[in-house]
Symmetry: C2
Subunit: 377 residues, 2 copies
């Protein structure tokens, strides 16, 4: 988005002129705050004359207010991005939830947000077994081309992010603090590594501290960006169950990994399964269940938003360019399995784009993936 | 059943005059083999003139054939019983399956077959964890008044039977060999202990050896006698899954206890849950699910079979006598929890009958059970 218009929207938010849900709606509908004032549709958007006055007032300020100025400065530094709901880089599934954030502060690779995502969440106080299962699912699904989304918390979240980094694949961490801060501080190194191939995301103002009340809102982003949520170890009353319930409300697939009935941290997962979550004991079961869904979601993305974004940089997975790339990738895959590294070498493609193409080919049954190596299906 | 008539039916079977399903049907419909010949309904029962000839021939034999003579002799020894499908002592739920056995050879306490049963089955090669979970479920459900049915096999079956014996409650073992043999031989002592308060059951001819082909038929009796089947640890292709599928076909509740995804013996249980079995991680969840079902089944038992059996010894749980006993029991239970031993002392009742009454009171919400002690609900 044009920096001066972004500046206006940020300023509008900084002045507290609008409730956040209304801000998101205006941002979706209008190219700039000024346009909201000009538009005859303004009244139908639910903007009262008082609010209109406030918008006018905010726009008339000659000086860019301090937080907005700071945020713009931050976004100009390498690796930092502010992605508004008008931008094609905004995570497509997140747009569909009831209360999407107006914008996201992003560090790292914003393309990571366009790869089909699967969330892995669970207890901060997980068992060794839980940690290993999280790593197994995260690495396997990441190798298949999904981006793994989690909350950078201790325990299961950390295990999932770490395993994806180790597999040199894409993971996205959604924070309950400003994206320029890292919580817990022990995950500072992990956060930096995530940014190399994936992204850190927060809707909270830069500099915001981690607070208990931020986490449920953070969790709606994790599930909202994802095709499905996998819960691994969760106590009966826990944040992970909140994420899972949110995911159900958002019509996302919810998966739960069972465990020993003598492990109190299995209770939450077992309860979810009784409430309708799908029991999975291997990553391929997630892929089976989600396969059809991905195709469906991709169809949904092509019309009408992709058309609207035709003049913008291409979205992954759903345009002519990636069709061509998919054909090129297919020519480089034979019946002898090849590694992703080989394919990067042969195709001269970036990892996230390649992953997206491989996932698409796998889901359509054209190629199959075994232990991270690809062959004709 | 009258010994001379029983002798005729056994002889008919020994002569191989009839396929076993037809034998069961005739036994259900007619008071004696002779009656089948006299009855005008014979043709509608599907008995061809050739079969009729064979029945005539078998009945005309002056000498009781050797196996029949031996079986009758066996049944006269203390603790041994032959219970035909015409007898009120025949397990009521088993009557309802598609292919019930014509008769059962029973050792121990035949009343045990009239208590509401829950089956616990699982791997012969179970883990320590599985064994402990089986013991926990078996002892808890037995203390609540259910009879625990299993197959006397190594592993989960043995753990379940042992735990019930330890709790001095009722368990039923269904064998894949003649009831006068014990397989595996290592369970000889366990089998003897089961007979003290419970029963051993087989439909196979006395003296039959344990054979692989016997076990699926044996499993249909386990699930057929039970309100529900709990599977604890089962490999992906295992006898326990066959029992569970049979139970589903017989419209029994199927419960599966989950476990670590890294335990190959959890795979079968997890698959069952995905196929519709109820995940349980605590025995009370079985009771919750099965409560309404028990009431329903008991209703079904009162009409019309109980009426027909009015002249016979009383069936547990569904006659005037046990109503009176239930009221007596209720008077001995206050708000201070009492043990089952106290109640036996106060009411001068046998354990199986008391268990049945306590279960009925618990399911109707009149009493509650905590750690094996009963108080007003």
């Amino acid at each position: 988005m044009d920096q001066s218009i972004l500046s206006q929207w940020l300023a509008l938010s900084e002045h507290g002129a609008l409730p956040s849900t209304l801000l998101t709606r205006l941002l979706k509908e209008f190219a700039s705050p000024e346009e909201t004032l000009d538009s005859p549709a303004l009244r139908t958007s639910g903007v009262s004359s008082e609010l209109r006055m406030r918008i006018c007032h905010a726009l008339q300020q000659a000086v860019v207010p301090p937080y907005t100025a700071n945020a713009l400065l931050w976004s100009q530094r390498s690796g930092n991005h502010i992605i508004t709901i008008r931008d094609t880089a905004y995570p497509p599934l997140l747009k569909q939830i009831v209360d999407p954030p107006a914008w996201l502060f992003v560090r790292g690779q914003p393309e990571a947000l366009l790869i089909p995502q699967i969330a892995i969440v669970g207890s901060r106080h997980c068992s060794v077994d839980g940690r290993e299962v999280a790593a197994l699912f995260a690495a396997d699904l990441a190798r298949r081309g999904f981006s793994i989304c989690s909350g950078l918390a201790r325990g299961i979240d950390t295990a999932a992010h770490l395993a994806v980094n180790k597999a040199r694949a894409t993971t996205v961490g959604v924070l309950g603090c400003g994206v320029d801060r890292i919580y817990p501080p022990s995950n500072l190194k992990l956060a930096q590594e995530i940014c190399e191939r994936g992204a850190l995301v927060s809707e909270l103002a830069l500099g915001s501290a981690a607070r208990a009340e931020h986490f449920p809102r953070r969790n709606r982003i994790i599930s909202g960006m994802s095709l499905g949520v996998i819960v691994i170890e969760a106590a009966e009353r826990s944040g992970s169950l909140i994420t899972a319930r949110m995911a159900m409300e958002q019509n996302r697939e919810v998966f739960a990994v069972p465990g020993s009935v003598r492990n109190p941290l299995s209770r939450g997962c077992h309860r979810l399964i009784r409430e309708g979550a799908t029991l999975v004991d291997a990553p391929e079961q997630v892929v089976e269940q989600i396969g059809a869904l991905v195709e469906f979601q991709l169809e949904a993305l092509v019309t009408p938003e992709a058309e609207q974004a035709a003049a913008q940089p291409p979205m992954l997975m759903c345009d002519g360019k990636s069709d061509k790339e998919a054909r090129a990738a297919l020519q480089q895959i034979g019946y002898d399995p090849v590694t992703v590294d080989d394919l990067i070498e042969r195709l001269k493609m970036e990892l996230p784009a390649l992953h997206a193409i491989l996932l698409r080919l796998e889901l359509s049954g054209k190629v199959r993936c075994e232990s991270g190596r690809y062959a004709l299906g």
